[in-house]
Amino acid sequence: MKGSRQAIAELLRARKYPEVLVTFGAHRKTVRSLRSLLYAEEALVKWRAVSMFGWLAAERADLIAHEVDRLIWSLNDEAGSIGRGAAECLGEIGRKNIGLVQHGVDVVIHYIEDPETCRPPNRNTEILLGVLWALGRLGGGKPMRVQKVMPVLLSFTEDPEPAVRGHAAWSLGQIGGPEAKDRLNRLTQDAGVTLLYENDELNEKAVAAIAQEALAHLNR
């Protein structure tokens, strides 16, 4: 499988999602390789695998319907970082085909509500960033889906880690609402920097810039 994984990674770098199925076949074996790319050391490949899951949700839901339960469970797997990329995938799949992840929305929400998993000293920041990002994808255009978690989400704009503040800001910009604008205004001078995946690209961005763009988006 190693060879196919590397070749799929190459296609993902080039954003050639349909070609992955054309080259390796529209079957679960291909999804299996995609699953393992969620653990790729190269962050862009991991994120593009997330995007590919979203693309499949829109184009070939039958290929990934069985993956959703696994993703949900992996967020609670006690071993290692099995849950890496799971929240992001649930968010992206939900954005493209909410019918596939109805139960997954609650799991993502529960994850961020649990202080054990999301607050220092025990939290895994990478997983938390994925959950914040997923909430943005799930709530974008459909704020009611994540409305109940808004107070918790707002609180992360005051987090000591800039990456957490930046992702919370981005998420609030997707979801919107008067409280979101208020918090975003407070971040427009934030000098922190984070890596952020948006529009299929992974870029380093200042928290202030994320907040300003989010506000512009919400005021449009």
């Binding site: 499988m1 679960r28 393992s36 969620l38 339960d69 797997d77 006690e78 290692g80 895994n124």
Partner: protein
């Protein structure tokens, strides 16, 4: 002398009494230099006092690029025991057969002494060398030092687990195939799957060189590979006589204990009806100088073993009665079989369902058909006594109309 105040542990102290080795004694020795172990003793004492465990799962932890290999553990009383607020376990992929050089053991211990509690479990039931107790911040430095010395992490969680094997041909004359070579080969073959989970759920390989199954593969692995032979048990009748001359009651201690009654002793020699032998190993274990496995050796592949989690415990059952474990062919027949099983499981397994449970749900017949294995009598549970199984001769035409 410790720079920290040692915990009082009156209940644990009781475990130091008696003639057996005590883990409390070992931990107390380490606690003098390691505050983490001192707090571990304190928390354990509290657990004995309250009869409640004080570990919790907490947040996900791991190293970048790997899905498994680390198990997050946190204290639920970090204010009382701050040095075990984090107490993560690291699984290190053990060498096949658990052979280490003394230098390798020193390397491992030096890394662990510098970055963890200093306590190890050699070895965990998974087979790994287990490092017990470290903090989230130390995970990446430990991983860097391990890989610098050519070690790697083992598997954990919903993932291929570290394959393990008996020490086979290295130390045991019963080994019917090279377990250590197969184990290493399969570990390398599934290296990606071990570290970047791609299997539907847990998957354990274990390799035993003979039917004694010293790694208990039949009970502890999804795919058990147990050495066997398909020709005749080798008999040295002179050695049989020597056993008898030395006072062994061969009828009472050997032949009458054969579960299939396939052997007899005529007072001078042992005779075996090899077609009836079910490889229980009793006779060979009892008379190792007189009886040996045959020369045409390979392995029986069994599938479906697991401990109870969702369904009850399952023992592996026979999938392929005999397979040559062919090193020259890079064990390709075994790998091809494995790929077909994986494809089937990926397509038909439901969430958190081990392969044994999946086979029980879909039925063995459907499973065999899907993985292109012909049904055989060996697939039948207790084929000699199962009243629902009929053999062809049962239906032989007796000249009358049924």
């Amino acid at each position: 002398m410790a720079n920290h105040k040692l915990r009082k542990t009156p209940l644990l102290d009781d475990l130091q009494k008696g003639p057996w080795p005590s883990f409390v004694k070992d931990m107390k020795q380490i606690a003098v230099r390691k505050p983490m172990v001192n707090d571990l003793l304190g928390q354990l004492e509290l657990s004995y006092k309250e009869r409640v465990g004080h570990w919790k799962h907490g947040g996900l932890v791991g190293v970048i690029g790997y899905g498994g290999g680390v198990i997050g553990r946190y204290s639920d009383a970090p204010e009382q025991f701050p040095d075990v607020a984090h107490f993560h376990t690291i699984r290190v992929n053990q060498p096949s057969g658990w052979f280490y050089t003394s230098q390798a053991l020193r390397d491992l211990c030096d890394i662990w002494e510098a970055h963890g509690s200093g306590m190890t479990n050699m070895h965990g039931s998974t087979g790994d060398c287990v490092f017990l107790g470290t903090t989230s911040e130390e995970l990446e430095p430990i991983f860097a030092k391990l890989t610098e010395k050519d070690w790697d992490l083992g598997g954990s969680g919903s993932d291929v687990r570290t394959p393990s094997c008996c020490n086979g041909m290295a130390r045991c004359e019963y080994a019917c195939y090279d377990t250590m070579d197969v184990c290493y080969n399969i570990t390398m073959e599934y290296q990606d799957e071990l570290h970047r989970p791609a299997f539907p759920y847990k998957w354990k390989f274990k390799f035993s060189g003979c039917p004694n199954d010293c790694v208990a593969s039949i009970a502890r692995s999804d795919l058990s590979v147990i050495g066997t032979w398909r020709d005749d048990i080798r008999i040295d009748q002179a050695a049989v006589k020597a056993y008898a001359d030395a006072g062994m009651d061969i009828r009472a201690d050997v032949t009458r204990k054969c579960p299939t009654a396939c052997m007899r002793y005529d007072g001078k020699e042992i005779h075996v009806n090899n077609k009836q032998c079910n490889r229980c190993m009793h006779c060979i274990n009892a008379m190792p100088k007189a009886l040996r496995p045959g020369k045409d050796t390979g392995a029986t592949i069994l599938i479906g073993g697991k401990a109870p989690i969702i369904e009850g415990a399952l023992l592996s059952s026979v999938l392929v009665p005999f397979m040559k474990m062919d090193k020259a062919d890079d064990y390709q027949e075994f790998k091809d079989l494995m790929e077909r099983i994986w494809d089937f499981w990926d397509d038909h397994g439901v969430n958190r369902e081990r392969i044994g449970e999946c086979i029980e749900r879909v039925g063995l017949g459907n499973f065999l058909e899907a993985i292109e294995v012909d049904p055989k009598p060996e697939h039948v549970k207790h084929p000699r006594t199962n009243p629902y199984i009929f053999y062809e001769e049962y239906f032989e035409d007796d000249g009358t109309d049924a």
